[in-house]
Symmetry: C2
């Protein structure tokens, strides 16, 4: 009995798990949010992803054994996954994992025998940044993730804002332009992410290069990715600077619209494109100021700090809030 009481006075441990399409990232945290260990296992998407949760449960149990942790030493397991979740822990679909609709929270609790909390990966990453990254101290936070697509996560009152069917914060699908000929991944035309994602930046660049064929630019005549645009702009290429400014205009406009709805105190910018650095914030600010509601204009912008670890931090945090 005495031993048990001493154990209870130690900080308990929490697992944070981020399920990606190829890799599952796992983290072991203490209750203060210090990452004690992190590791990865492959995501086995075969057989409709039926091995994914059992693999995670086994990995968690193995780590508990290794660290000599009993059930009473662990607060629980937080899970982020790429799909929309209902408040009861049901995922509606997750095509990347081969999953259909089922209650992930209940299934994982059954498998691992610990308390489980689940959430959409973009929302969970936002919670991670809010807890231990760029959003610390924000009262209301929006995180935008600029990668292959544009994701978003809303933190309200220290918690994930999920929306009615798990699609809260899908700001990548704000309608921005009526004249877009290409179709977005969602089936619409003219979504924010068609301009502000990494692929969107390349789309914007190619169109500008085509529209002004006489303008010299280091990007012209070669294959380039998003990073090349910002690198060229940083190196002073005048036309690349124009492209970067146009990209910033789209980004600022989409965030101004989001801010009119949400009135965040802070917007955190993450994802691959955010590696362009503070330049990105300078580029978006003129459009943000021009298109934003004055009462929602007073926003702090910051770059995400936790990188790929944001998901495991946020997943762990779900058990502690």
């Amino acid at each position: 009995m005495k031993l048990r009481q001493e154990g209870e006075q130690l900080s308990k441990r929490v697992f944070g798990v981020d399920i990606g399409g190829t890799t599952v990232k796992l983290g072991l945290f203490d209750e203060e949010g210090t990452l004690r260990a992190s590791w990865e296992i492959p995501t086995r998407t075969e057989d409709n992803g039926s091995n994914i949760l059992p693999d995670i449960a086994a990995a968690v149990r193995a780590k508990m054994k290794e660290e000599q942790l009993g059930d009473q030493d662990v607060v629980g397991v937080g899970l982020g996954a790429p799909g929309p979740f209902g408040d009861d822990g049901t995922i509606y679909n997750a095509v990347n994992l081969g999953w259909g609709e089922f209650n992930v929270q209940q299934e994982m609790e059954r498998l691992v025998g610990l308390k489980v909390r689940v959430g959409n990966d973009a929302n969970v990453a936002a919670l991670g940044e809010y807890w231990k990254g760029a959003g610390v101290g924000a009262s209301e936070m929006l995180m935008v993730t600029l990668g292959t697509g544009v994701g978003g996560g809303i933190i309200h009152d220290g918690q994930i804002y999920n929306g009615s069917r798990g699609a809260g914060g899908e700001i990548g699908h704000i309608h921005l332009r009526d004249d877009e000929p290409e179709v977005c991944g969602c089936g619409c035309h003219g979504c924010f992410e068609q301009y502000a994602s990494a692929t969107g930046a390349v789309r914007v660049a190619k169109r500008m290069l085509e529209a002004e064929p006489e303008e010299p630019c280091v990007l012209r005549g070669r294959d380039f990715v998003c990073k090349d645009i910002f690198d060229a702009a940083k190196e002073g290429d005048p036309f690349a600077k124009k492209i970067a400014a146009r990209y910033g205009e789209y980004l600022g406009k989409g965030l101004a619209i989001s801010a009119a709805v949400l009135n965040p105190s802070m917007i955190v910018i993450g994802g691959g494109v955010s590696k362009a650095g503070l330049m990105l914030i300078e580029l978006l600010l003129p459009a943000f100021d021009r298109y934003s509601f004055p009462g929602s204009r007073n926003v702090s912008f910051g770059l995400a700090k936790l990188g790929n670890d944001a998901g495991i931090y946020g997943a762990a945090r779900m058990l502690l809030s």
Copy 2:
């Protein structure tokens, strides 16, 4: 002692107060939300509105005397006012009332000697509709108020979503068009409310009539207001129907953008324009479907039910949640 205990078993009473620019509306409710009495007093905006809160406190105290209610019989007083509020009860400004920045909640508690809760009038009206109007049973609700401007209120988890500086849900200032020559009341160009408010509908109509001077229309050559457009459309005027359809396109687009951010289960439409009736929902749906993110498309639309009483209902509700 026995009498007191009996009194406590009765349903307590709650006051809901909606402060407008010319009139203060007051309601006395029981805890179940039945409106037992409602009345109005003038809003005395002179002397920087310094009489408004004392007048309300006096009106509340007079009603308590009339109804033989002691302090222990009253849960408190809810107040809605036209301005942005912080979570601590501070209003940042309320030009219509002559108010600058001060803590309305604290001041009103001092004056009336009862528990007070305060909020922005559009948000409070949304809470009223959620509690006893068109939004009953919604999990996440957005209310849009189509009047002189376009207001919005977000209900999340049964509570008002306030935003970091009280500007949450200001969807009227979503940027919708880049080519708007006129300036919005907020100082920007191309805001949602420049097209979807009652004045916006007239603006849209006048532009369409001007652009197609050969098209016959009953609205042509006379002064008209928003209601006339929808009346003419209902009566079958072909060009008025075109105008109404264009209005619906703007309304549907702005709401689709809002839904991408918020993923509401229900959108309630209120304000003067909503008197056009269910036609409005038919008009907005094609654009809503075309411009909305598939994961946020499954929204129920409803017309506000409480009319001008929404504010007093929502104000009372703030004390009960």
